[in-house]
Amino acid sequence: MFHSKKAGAGSTTAMNSLHHNHHHHHERSNMCGVGPAGNNHSTAGSGTIQGDSGLVLTTDPKPRLRWTVELHERFVDAVAQLGGPDKATPKTIMRVMGVKGLTLYHLKSHLQKFRLGKQPHKEFNDHSIKDSERASALELQRNSGASSSGMMGRSMNEMQIEVQRRLHEQLEVQRHLQLRIEAQGKYMQTILEKACQTLAGDQSMAATGYNNNGNKVVGNSGAGIGMNMNMNMNMNMNMSTSSTSHLEQAAVPAGHRGSVMLFPGDHVPSAIKDFGSLNFPSFQDLNLYGTSQSPSPPAVAAAGTATARKSPLMWSDDELHLQDDHQHQQQEHHHIGVLSNNSSEGGGGDGCDLDPTVPNHIFETTPLTLASSHNVDHIHHHHLGLGPLDHSKKLERTSPRRPPLSSNSSMDNMRATLSTNSNSNMSPQGRSSSFG
């Protein structure tokens, strides 16, 4: 479901407040109903306490409720009494169950998982394949005790097969998605080219461009601006008509000038990638090479599509100046150097052991996922041969942390307003209230 990556959510606060961060806690709470039912069983590193209410709480720094089989069964009973997971609410469940120490928060997240579990085909785990196999199997198994419909009879084998099937389907989807995005990008290219040609005729574009401050020099026509925006955004565009942009000259690798080749192997020139390069200093940081994450802004794998072989080499200084924040330039410069090593694509993986990482990234939670660039590229190069699913490497690609969104965000202002002004129609909620 929602795989919130807010690692910092802090379930401690959740425990204390009845509040509705259940998205986060959904992830955080340790829903091991299938774990050993023994009350005094301890998990690695944490002990468990059995309260007299029959609840099992762990003693690790973030106390969590353990959903034992018994507790879960009571839960299921209560839900059934209330007419099913969709009708039941945490409040009513709490009342029906009558278990001391059980809070709404516990129930909320458990109920949500339960609801999800009832529809296993919608479950989508962003873990590695193995993890998600395990997780899916757990889900199925967990609910096998609860569900009144057919799952009781399922054998582990059947479930495993089901899980495998789903995972393969996910891989398929990913592959198709890649192709579709590429197709769209190619089409976009045709639009831009056409536009370029028409605009090129209009006015001279020599006067326009980005100066070193990254300020858009307003040229005599939008044409130049637009073009240059495109230049900057889309380095690999074949805008050979423009003579102004040094970027373009630097950027477009020879092989790509002048033709709209629609081979699947072509990377898709898109601003995404270039933004990717702009933002995300280095693919190094994407942990594709197993290095640890730097705290730079995550590679919205907009770094995504097939940038691998192009780009960052091509970035000139001026381009970098585009960014409003000059601080990043240091990083960029540095990383450009790094990247240059990798941009040779054919180089069957010097330090580019990207190939096997493809499917991992599907299931990892990070935005880097989509076969960030390299992977995609390699998919094509190797004719979509994904190879055996033994991608044990790169499992722990730490997700690049975004700098916490500054409280500037206007959403926060919204919330603040809500909490202050009771005249508004929305119920005041905490910062993570849901508006949807």
Binding site: S4, K5, H23, H121, K122, F124, R166, Q170, E172, V173, H176, L177, L179, I181, E182, A183, Q184, K186, Y187, I191, L192, A195, L199, G214, K216, S221, I225, G226, M229, V260, S270, A271, L278, N279, P297, P298, A301, A302, Q323, D325, T365, S399, P403, L405, S406, N408, S410, D412, N413, A416, T417, T420, N421, N423, S424, N425, S432, S434, F435, G436
Partner: protein, 489 residues
């Protein structure tokens, strides 16, 4: 005069941020603000106050103290509410305030303006004053998200103000926002590309619809798509790609697309329908997709006449209705309704609909105004989260796409009656003959993968069996829904 001067320090706004009693920047400023704002309470008090709303206002604004001091101070003497009580209001020197507080102030001002404009006595003067002040505080191109957003909302409110004078037409034609006409074509193109690359909004709708279409036509040999608003046709590029690479079923089906075109090509700054057709044809040829393109010209009243379409026997008809970004303007509801209703007679196999999550139906104008504000602030935030450095790019996208939509959105909400603001998805659900088609696992999966490409703040969830909703953090933004039609209902 002397007295006046002496009194000023009491209402020294610049102390606002540092005084322990009021703002406390360490702990949640919003909570502290609660107390202060409540004391001041922008909305309620104004109406209750005296005859001259402007007077009220002056007290709240920090004017240059030259001429205004008299009025200001004297007023504050009279009115206990606003005076030297602890709520030294918002207008501290800007530099003294944190962004949060600034943003909050802007929101309050906007709310006040919305209230004023929708209130029964329609105190337009008050609105104007507020808007003027807002304009001073914000700019379209600089500042925080909130500030830029406010700039567009201010424009939108001004637009309402001006148009409401001359009889609102909740009617057929929504006033085309003026901004649109001023965009250079290249700007529009750049913004378009940027929008696509910086956010999943465009792709989400297209891909979800396309996936549903692909699944629906697996065994068809001919597919005919009727596109409500084709723009430059980018949705179909990926569909074609998918069609030519499909494995099961008959080989690549023949694809026909009929695009609705409207008179008044001012609306198509990127390309006309003919150009789009040519481009699509060329693209199809380049990838080997059998293809043909047609146009269906609408009259100025945009009534859809299905009989004017050329149909071929044996083809599967798909009705595609994209109403979200980057489709520029809001289509008038009669146009959309006419299209959807008219499509019934075509007996379509599938109807795909993508629209923005609209404001809540209840709550009056102010409630909906705030909802829209939340909506777009989520959009702004999502763009910033993905591309915090690319301020200029975002500004461009905001200017070309988001701004006009804000204006249009508010106009639509303002002019509509209560209860008319439902979503088209709901409308389809209640129309006879349309029934929902489930979103497949693959579709849902694709959406999640797609969003994963961008930023983990995006969410895709199924809000109904046939509807996928794209949201940012917890705010729903777009929904894509799939329907089928059968007469026997």
């Amino acid at each position: 005069m002397a007295m006046v001067v002496d009194e000023l320090p009491e209402i020294d706004f610049s102390d606002y941020t540092t005084t322990a009693s009021t703002t406390n920047s360490t702990t949640t400023p919003e909570d502290d603000h609660c107390r202060d704002w409540a004391a001041w309470s922008p909305m309620v008090d104004w109406d209750a106050l005296s005859v001259h709303p402007e007077e009220n206002f002056r007290d709240l604004f920090q004017y240059d103290m030259d001429d205004e001091t008299d009025k200001t101070v004297s007023y504050s003497d009279d009115d206990k509410n606003l005076a030297s009580s602890e709520a030294p209001v918002m207008e501290t020197p800007v530099s003294g305030l944190s962004d949060d507080l600034k943003g909050l102030r802007l929101v309050h001002l906007l709310m006040a303006a919305a209230e004023a404009i929708s209130s029964d006595n329609k105190s337009h003067d008050l609105v104007r004053v507020i808007l003027v002040r807002l304009k001073d505080l914000v700019s379209h191109n600089e500042g925080t998200n909130m500030e830029r957003l406010t700039a567009y909302f201010t424009d939108a409110l001004l637009n309402l103000l001006e148009s409401s004078g001359g009889g609102c037409g909740g009617g057929l034609h929504y006033k085309q926002p003026n901004h649109l006409n001023h965009h250079h074509r290249a700007d529009v193109l750049s913004a378009f590309q940027l929008l696509q690359d910086m956010s999943p909004y465009v792709k989400f709708g297209h891909f979800t619809a396309n996936q549903a279409i692909i699944e629906a036509v697996t065994h068809e040999r001919r597919v005919h798509i009727i596109d409500y608003d084709i723009m430059e046709g980018i949705q179909w590029a990926s569909l074609m790609q998918a069609l030519i690479s499909r494995k099961d079923g008959p080989p690549t089906p023949h694809l026909r697309i009929t695009a609705l075109s409207r008179p008044g090509s001012g609306r198509k700054p990127i390309s006309t329908v003919q150009e789009t057709g040519r481009r699509l044809t060329a693209f199809a040829a380049s990838i080997g997709q059998p293809f043909s393109f047609h146009q269906c010209k609408l009259d100025s009243d945009e009534t859809f006449k299905p009989s004017s379409l050329k149909l071929v026997r044996g083809e599967a008809i798909i009705v595609n209705c994209m109403l979200h970004l980057p489709h520029f303007s809001y289509r008038s509801p009669t146009s959309v309704a006419s299209f959807l209703t008219g499509s019934k007679s075509l007996n379509p196999k599938l109807v795909t609909l993508v629209e923005e999550e609209g404001p809540k139906v209840e709550g009056g104008f102010v409630g909906r105004f705030m909802d829209i504000l939340h909506h777009y602030s989520a959009v702004y935030d999502s763009l910033e989260a993905g591309f915090p450095m690319q301020g200029r790019a975002r500004v461009l996208v905001e200017r070309v796409f988001l701004g006009p939509r804000i204006v249009g959105s508010l106009a639509r909400v303002y002019n509509r009656e209560e209860g008319e603001c439902g979503s088209w998805g709901d409308w389809l659900g209640s129309e006879s003959g349309f029934h929902p088609i489930n979103i497949s696992f693959a579709n849902h999966c694709q959406a999640k993968l797609l969003l994963g490409l961008f930023n983990d703040g995006y969410r895709a969830e199924e809000s109904a069996s046939n509807k996928l909703v794209l949201g940012w953090k917890s705010r729903r933004l777009l929904s894509a829904s799939i329907w089928a039609y059968s007469e026997a209902d």
